[in-house]
Amino acid sequence: MADTYTSRTLRELLRIVASRFLGMVILFAVIVGAVTAASLYAPKWYRSEVQLMATPARVSNPLAGPSTSQHEQVTLFVMTQREILFSESVLGAALLMLEKPQYAPQADGSRSARFQLPAGLRKELPDFIAANTDKIRRLKDRLSVVTPGGPDAAFTQTFKVVVDWPETRQNGDGDRAQRRRRAAEQCRQLADYIVAAYLARYQQLEAQRTEAARKFLEKKSLAEAEKRVEEAKAALEAEAATLGADLLPVASIVGKQGIDSGVARLVTELESSISTVEARLAELTALRRAVERQLKEPEQLAVPDEIASSSPVIAELLKRIAQLEMKISGLTPKFTDEYQELQTTRSELRNARLDLIRELQRQLRRLDDSIAVKEAEKAHLTARLAKFTRDMQRIGPQAIRYSRLQEALQAAIDHYNQQEKDYLESVRAESLAQDPVLVSVVDSASRPDPDRPRRPILWLNILIACISGLVLSLVYAFLADHFDHTIKSVDEAERYLGAPVVASVPKMGRHILQMQ
């Protein structure tokens, strides 16, 4: 199709519209007719509005707490009021009041600060809600809460409750005017009742919250928790005193692991440290013997590596001796014994050897010192092990008591922390309760005019229908032509089929041939 797509001339466009004109007209008529009928027969409704305002009782103390500023109070506040207003209990109560006027608040009763739902209504409410869930749902659709600045306005002090109530036919008998008046009156009443029920519910929720906070504070559980902590600490310290300072870490390990395994662990630890010390001792003694042997035979220089590496002086001396010996062995084949350099070198070698011997002796003394230290350490460890095995039996149960007291102390501290948190919360709640956000009714429900219910704007709807009808019928015409593959003109035939058009025969009516 792409290769037969000619550029659209104006004539082409007119042809498209003209050839499908009937379809376009029908489509247009259907659209406009449907919209007009819908607008004319749409249900009309009445609107009633109540204006409410939220104010804190007094300017709150900014030092009272970090999050009780007035701004935040009111902000979060408005968003939660929506939820309360749309809850089933409030709407159910309002509908029940509408149905049974004996529960309805008096003329100015809804404005008083302490309005409460009558007892009879409260009793009947749960059943009513269960029986009329769909009515409540429809009421939710008709209710709206308008805040200046849009539904997500963060900070607003005023808000409007709007009820749109349809001008239904089931308002009982009577003529049309009477029915309309009744519908308008119902709309207003419903708005009032919803606000009254909402205020009652709001106060009820506030009271519940402060009640809970007050009860908590009365219990004074914080002081109690503190006392418990002190007690646990004292017990622990007493126990620690009886154990003795050096056994304290031992006791904590034993306590954690239990008597047998803890003891066994400690014993193995001590024994392993003893054996390490003994090993080191053996090394040192061997080293000492090597150095002694070396001293007895100064000509044979076989200094153990450890000594050489631990003392830089010796290492250097060894290097020097080696250098000198090499030098001598280099000189002797060439020169005689009287050669000056040879003699000086030999004397230097002798001096170096004497220095080495002195150093080795010093090292020997150092080794002796280390050996003595290690022996002392070993003795100390063995003494400890002996003492421990002696006291093992006595330590066991004491150690367990100790560790248990430690755990008790930790638990008491945790409990105290929790109590402290709860305490802060309730202090805050109580301060909020003393400084509540009051909701008051600014205007009572507006009275809708029964003769002028709200209706859809006819001229606007028809205008929109006309425009969209026009657009849609054009869309139809061009779409239908786009997908129409029949041959409509000589040009199309020649372009698509490649054969010359020999004649173009206009339509001449039905194919009836009579010969009379």
Partner: protein, 251 residues
């Protein structure tokens, strides 16, 4: 938009020598005149002009090389038989006009005898299968036009299409007449047109303007060319002009 009946106006009766009907009790449509006299159909003025133009552009424009032209269409009911009749009636009642033969080769839905008020009588099938001579099978309409109606097809359509008989028949017609018009069935539905295209070689394709999709016409053209024929021209039938005439000059 005059009716098609205006195209064919009944004229003065002529006493034409027609081959007698084989069976006098045949239900011959619309003939209530005494035997021997028949009204010759004629084209009305407007239609006559149009068909004159069509005739000229088919035969006098150098598109055709031979005398015979096959008329067919892509689908059924596109008006081929009407066009064939109209074309045949052009220019045939005058002195010195070409001698024209109209052959109704539409074995599936023959309509020419109905349109022109002829009897079904011995016709094409008899000429091809039974060996009847063309002079005997033809029916004379007016001075220059001979019509071969389809005859009694029965179940002999395949037998009729056997190519040697067809070739022989059209060779005979070629000698006897100046132009031969052959009407045949739809090319996309029946094989007749494809077979005849191989024999007759020159095909005019009739297209119903707002009804037949172009792909169907392209397929018919392909079939004709596969059969060995050549589409010398298209006739766009049943044209409608939704835009009023004066706009054609402005827009």
């Amino acid at each position: 938009m005059s009716d098609l009946e205006d195209m064919f106006e009944p004229n003065e009766p002529i006493s034409a020598a027609a081959a007698p009907s084989n069976d006098p009790s045949d239900d011959v449509p619309v003939l209530t005149l005494p035997a021997g006299s028949r009204r010759a159909p004629r084209l009305s003025g407007r239609a006559s002009e149009m068909f004159h133009g069509m005739w000229a552009s088919i035969f006098y424009s150098g598109r055709t090389t031979g005398k015979t032209v096959l008329l067919t269409s892509a689908a059924r009911r596109e008006g081929v038989s009407t066009i064939a009749c109209g074309l045949a009636l052009t220019d045939t009642d005058v002195e010195g006009g070409p001698r024209v033969a109209l052959v109704d080769f539409n074995l599936r839905n023959p309509a020419i005898h109905r349109m022109l008020g002829l009897r079904e009588g011995p016709g094409l099938v008899e000429a091809l299968a039974d060996g009847l001579s063309p002079a005997e099978a033809a029916q004379k309409i007016n001075r220059n036009l001979d019509v071969f109606t389809v005859g009694a097809i029965g179940s002999r359509s395949l037998e009729v299409l056997r190519s040697d008989a067809v070739e022989k028949f059209f060779a005979q017609l070629d000698e006897l007449y100046d132009q031969v018009l052959v009407d045949s069935a739809a090319a996309n539905h029946y094989p007749d047109a494809q077979v005849l295209a191989g024999v007759l070689k020159e095909v005019v394709l009739v297209v119903h303007s707002d009804l037949t999709p172009r792909e169907a016409v392209a397929q018919a053209k392909k079939r004709i060319e596969a059969g060995g024929g050549r589409v010398v021209g298209l006739v766009l039938n049943m044209r409608t002009f939704p835009i009023p005439n004066f706009l054609y000059r402005i827009v």
